[in-house]
Symmetry: C2
Subunit: 275 residues, 2 copies
């Protein structure tokens, strides 16, 4: 009998042992790519939708998992107004739109209902989406992550097998601080970073003048400093925003638009990293 | 003896009773105003800093509490690189900058350290900031809230007396969905909404042409629909971003700038609601 543990029940011992995590892959997909930004509002969801559609245009089978419980964007950006079906009351069939399999908390509640949830509820919802959605034979699931470095990020990093993260940022200094924290987090949690994207890089007015509304070159420099790949820059474009607001992302609406071509280049690079 | 409770201890009964919350005011201030947005990246922090400085310019004593644990912006935007002092190892003295009393998680850790925390840790940090900071004789504390409708928002709404919320949004449709959820949350939690601000309303190029990069008029229309006050619109302005990035907010750097005047109008309206 081990003297040190006299009086300590096995339950107590297991409750005080360091927690170990098993990373389960999402069922029904070969690869899972998270789109992250640490900071909100940098166009991450717009990026995620268009990136997923760009992957699809390369003849890949693609799904989107909207992991932003507090601010789901997928229903509006992909114009989805139906509820997912369930055969057994437990699992859910993702909704097919523009040839993409889609899932979002926004399919389950009406648009204006806030999810006033503390962290453990969010974690539980994320796990349900990863384990109970009947994703069907996908090459890639693109996960649209919420901002921050909290419960959702921890759950994905510790308990779900993520094959790579793309970090999207705008180039202003205050956004880059958040990106640095994001890089540190994924490095610490051993989730591979595929590369960084500079979004809302600049705005070009009708007379061809470029305005660096959010600053210039910061994301690329940061990628170099942290020894990460730089995947490209996407200018501010009103067509891109209008398409997202109208429910048909630009890559689907106008595949030959100059912005759509940038998304396809990034999709090609991503495909090349794996397949 | 009440038959229904036979066998149930008092501990059990109290643990299953609905939790009631006491709203404590933040000590050391007359009024607490939260700046919220539900969606991230709409310029909420830039708004909060400039709004606080605009209140100060009205001869009010003002503090800023940066409640964004995952993405603190205050250290960079106000150019603060020192740690707060503590006399007793428990309470903290806020840092004075540009005549404003400031507190942020960013003062306690270095800039690149991610706060990889689950919800309960965040709640605990927020309570410490509300209870253990020696705010000194303030008229207003401006609270820069994180995006979302989660732990921080719940803690403020349930346990801290908030006298009013200003909701900041950009005008694109996907941001407005988040604002609707935010309004519903604060209404449900009975926190008064002072009004809505339309940020990054439009961009004016050097030849005077206006571009509705993020859409037009959406925030004002939403305010009308939800019977809330519309407090004003702030255009996209490179000076405003450059000032925030450089650590001296525009209202302090250039009080006569046209954007600074907009902040002062909003500050005047806010003061008028209370004093």
């Amino acid at each position: 009998m081990d003297k040190k543990t006299v009086g300590l029940s096995n339950d107590f011992k297991s409750s005080t042992a360091p927690k170990t995590f098993t990373k389960n892959p999402i069922k029904g997909t070969k690869l899972t790519i998270a789109i992250s930004s640490a900071k909100g509002g940098v166009g991450k969801s717009t990026f995620a939708m268009n990136f997923a559609l760009a992957l699809k245009s390369l003849d890949l089978k693609v799904g989107i998992l909207d992991a932003d419980i507090y601010g789901p964007s997928l229903p509006r950006m992909m114009s989805i107004n139906e509820k997912p079906k369930s055969e057994d009351g437990k699992s859910m069939v993702p909704i097919d739109k523009y040839g993409i399999q889609c899932m979002s908390i926004g399919f389950l509640v009406d648009e204006e209902t806030p999810m006033i949830w503390r962290g453990p509820m969010v974690t539980s919802a994320i796990k349900t989406f990863a384990q109970k959605v009947l994703w069907n034979d996908l090459d890639f699931i693109v996960v649209d992550m919420p901002p921050g470095t909290g419960d959702t990020q921890l759950t994905f990093a510790q308990e779900i097998k993520v094959d790579g993260v793309i970090i999207v940022s705008t180039p202003q200094e205050v956004a880059l601080s958040d990106v640095k924290r994001g890089i540190r987090m994924f490095d610490k949690l051993k989730v591979p970073i595929l590369g960084l994207v500079d979004n809302m890089s600049f705005f070009e007015s009708d007379d061809g003048k470029k305005y660096n509304i959010f600053g210039e070159g910061g994301v690329e420099k940061l990628a170099t400093n942290y020894n990460k790949k730089f995947l490209g820059k996407i200018p501010i474009d009103i067509d891109l925003r209008v398409a997202a607001d109208s429910g048909k992302p630009l890559v689907e609406e106008n595949p030959n638009h100059k912005i759509s071509k940038i998304f396809k280049e990034i999709a090609l690079k991503t495909k090349g990293s794996f397949l």
